[in-house]
């Protein structure tokens, strides 16, 4: 009997030690070092004026890498989040539940939606992936696939005919039968020995510098390219914005 109690006690101690923690992951949008306001006019690297109206993007396939190099992969089915930021929407924070406690040195995620999920049946497209619900406007119908990053706004350099609107819809998961554009990008952000404790919530903030959307290996000029829908240039823009993400 005593033995049994001992074992039970030991078990519960071990179990307690393994109780998971929680991470609240927040994305903040900046232009250079300033937090974005939808009423402010900014100037990109090409000296083009711009005001933002919509900043939407998918964050998926999240994982955390421990100090010893092992990886904790957040349950794949629940690993799809849609950041929505406009005057109407402000959805920038997500809770990652049941994270094993420990010390983590890297946060990894995909900007966009992996190719497999892009071809799945409707049963596997819930929550952020539901194009008739939360994910509306983030999906191409005629050329099946998610829009990974949608950045829209106003600039005096965008055509007057289109009400000075610039509109960048970046997507493309690489194609189903034939290779097509692939704008899936993985971000790996080093963490400073980020500790997750059992039963506690830790806060992690990722800042996204939207100035980087327009510069990098590819110079995106609103005056030259006010709209991107489905084009080869998408991949280059994705290469730009992947560098916009940083741990704050």
């Amino acid at each position: 009997m005593e033995k049994l109690v001992c074992i039970l006690l030991l078990n519960s101690i071990i179990a307690f030690g393994q109780k998971p923690g929680r991470v609240d992951l927040e994305f903040v949008h900046k232009f250079e070092n300033e937090l974005i306001s939808f009423d402010t006019t900014y100037f990109n690297d090409h000296n083009e004026d711009l005001r933002f109206s919509t900043i939407n993007y998918f964050v998926s396939n999240i994982s955390l890498i421990r100090s010893d190099g092992t990886e904790y992969i957040y349950p794949q089915d629940s690993s799809y989040f849609l950041v929505k930021h406009s005057k109407m929407d402000d959805q920038r924070q997500f809770s990652l539940n049941d994270i094993p406690p420990g010390e983590y040195i890297k946060l990894k995620f995909v900007i966009g939606v992996d190719s497999l999920r892009n071809t799945m049946s409707i049963e596997h497209r819930k929550g952020a992936l539901d194009m008739g619900g939360e994910g509306k406007g983030m999906y191409w119908i005629w050329n099946s696939g998610y829009i990974f990053f949608k950045l829209e706004g106003i600039s005096s350099l965008a055509p007057e005919r289109g009400k000075n609107k610039f509109s960048y819809h970046i997507g493309g998961y690489g194609g189903y039968k034939t290779r097509t554009i692939n704008s899936i990008r993985t971000v790996e952000l080093p963490l400073l020995k980020f500790k997750i404790h059992a039963l506690e919530t830790s806060k992690m903030t990722v800042s996204v510098d939207l100035e980087r959307f327009f510069k990098g290996d590819f110079n995106l000029r609103i005056s030259e390219t006010p709209n991107i829908m489905w084009g080869n240039v998408s991949e280059k823009v994705a290469d730009n914005y992947v560098k916009a993400f940083a741990i704050q």
Binding site: I122, M131, I141, N232
Partner: protein, 339 residues
């Protein structure tokens, strides 16, 4: 002992009958390849099929309530739009491309003339959200369905949901679409040994189709599911075919190879509906194709001029064989008709 045998026999009977019951819901033709569509994930039930059919024929799916899926996919026309070169949308708009027939869809892995969609569940959205077709958003359809006591009850009865979402809506449509199998043509009964005999012209035509129209129109689906340029006149100003999906110049003017089944019902032909009769189509393939940059190399049989080398007799026999691919049982199957 006797009891035990009886018990075993009863068990065996139950097993067999349950399998055959399952089979009856979705009979796949013996002569067809394995389906691409996952029938186990969204198994077809009578209720699901019926709900899908109601939706298919309900103009609630269009922006102004004027047209349904069934408006451009008419059963008597092999579920194409009879006599229309481009399909007909809201406000009497005409689309660029000819409505494709709807049958044997579970055997395809990509859909539409340019292959832009690759899951059957998502195919209805293409027509629904196209401004030249149903011109409606999925979100708005869900709102309309959720505001309808009639649909709320039907969806609740089937899926036990209080709120209809994309999943239940599209799954129901898929059940109807996946059920549309056309495999009872004279040709099918002939190859399955079901007591049909083909005459000498039809047999000759069959051999010609195997020889001259394969691999493109090969296999029991009479298409290899590829995208090819068949030399139909095209300025490429409005429609570049599969190039719009792959963004590759080499895909300019390539379109899905359509099936040869049920052709008697599906006139006009080709991606733009530019040919009204099968005679015209054959003549085109024989000697009238436009030699475009991406024209399929299989048409370059002789150096002077692209096209198949068919005699008048060949063409006659091919036409005779194509008729054996018509499936009047499918065209008249009441299960798929508007109630």
């Amino acid at each position: 002992m006797k009891k035990r045998i009886l018990g075993l026999a009863a068990l065996f009977y139950l097993l067999v009958s349950s399998i055959s019951l399952h089979r009856r819901q979705m009979e796949l033709p013996r002569n067809f390849p394995k389906p691409y569509h996952n029938l186990e994930e969204n198994p077809i039930t009578k209720q699901g099929f019926d709900l899908g059919k109601t939706l298919f024929y309900d103009p609630i799916l269009s922006s102004d309530g004027s047209i349904s899926c069934g408006s451009c996919h008419q059963q008597w026309a092999g579920f194409t739009n009879e006599g229309h070169t481009g399909s007909h949308g809201v406000n009497s708009q005409v689309g660029l491309r000819n409505a494709l027939p709807l049958f044997n869809l579970v055997f395809y892995d990509t859909f539409f003339w340019d292959g832009g969609v690759h899951n059957l569940d998502l195919t209805p959205l293409n027509a629904i959200e196209n401004p030249e077709e149903l011109n409606e958003s999925l979100e708005n359809i869900l709102t309309k369905l959720n505001n309808s006591a009639y649909y709320k009850k039907r969806f609740f009865d089937l899926y036990k949901v209080e709120k209809i979402t994309s999943e239940e809506f599209l799954k129901s449509l898929t059940q109807f679409l996946a059920s549309m199998i056309s495999a009872n043509s004279r040709y099918d009964k002939y190859v399955r040994g079901e007591g049909v005999v083909l005459n000498s012209e039809e047999i000759a035509g069959m051999a010609l189709v195997k020889k001259k129209c394969t691999p493109c129109h090969g296999g029991e689906l009479f298409t290899d599911g590829s995208y090819r340029n068949a030399g139909v006149e095209n300025s490429f100003r409005f429609d570049r075919g599969r190039e719009s999906i792959t963004l590759k110049e080499e895909d300019r003017g390539k379109y899905r190879v359509p099936t040869l089944r049920n052709l008697d019902y599906t006139s006009p032909y080709m991606h733009d509906g530019s040919m009204e009769t099968l005679e015209e189509v054959l003549k085109h393939y024989n000697s009238e194709m436009e030699d475009q940059q991406t024209l399929d190399p299989l048409f370059k049989v002789r150096p002077s001029k692209p096209g198949l080398t068919l005699s008048d007799e060949d063409m006659h026999n091919i036409l005779m064989f194509l008729k054996t691919l018509n499936d009047p049982e499918f065209i008249n199957d009441r299960r798929f008709s508007e109630d």
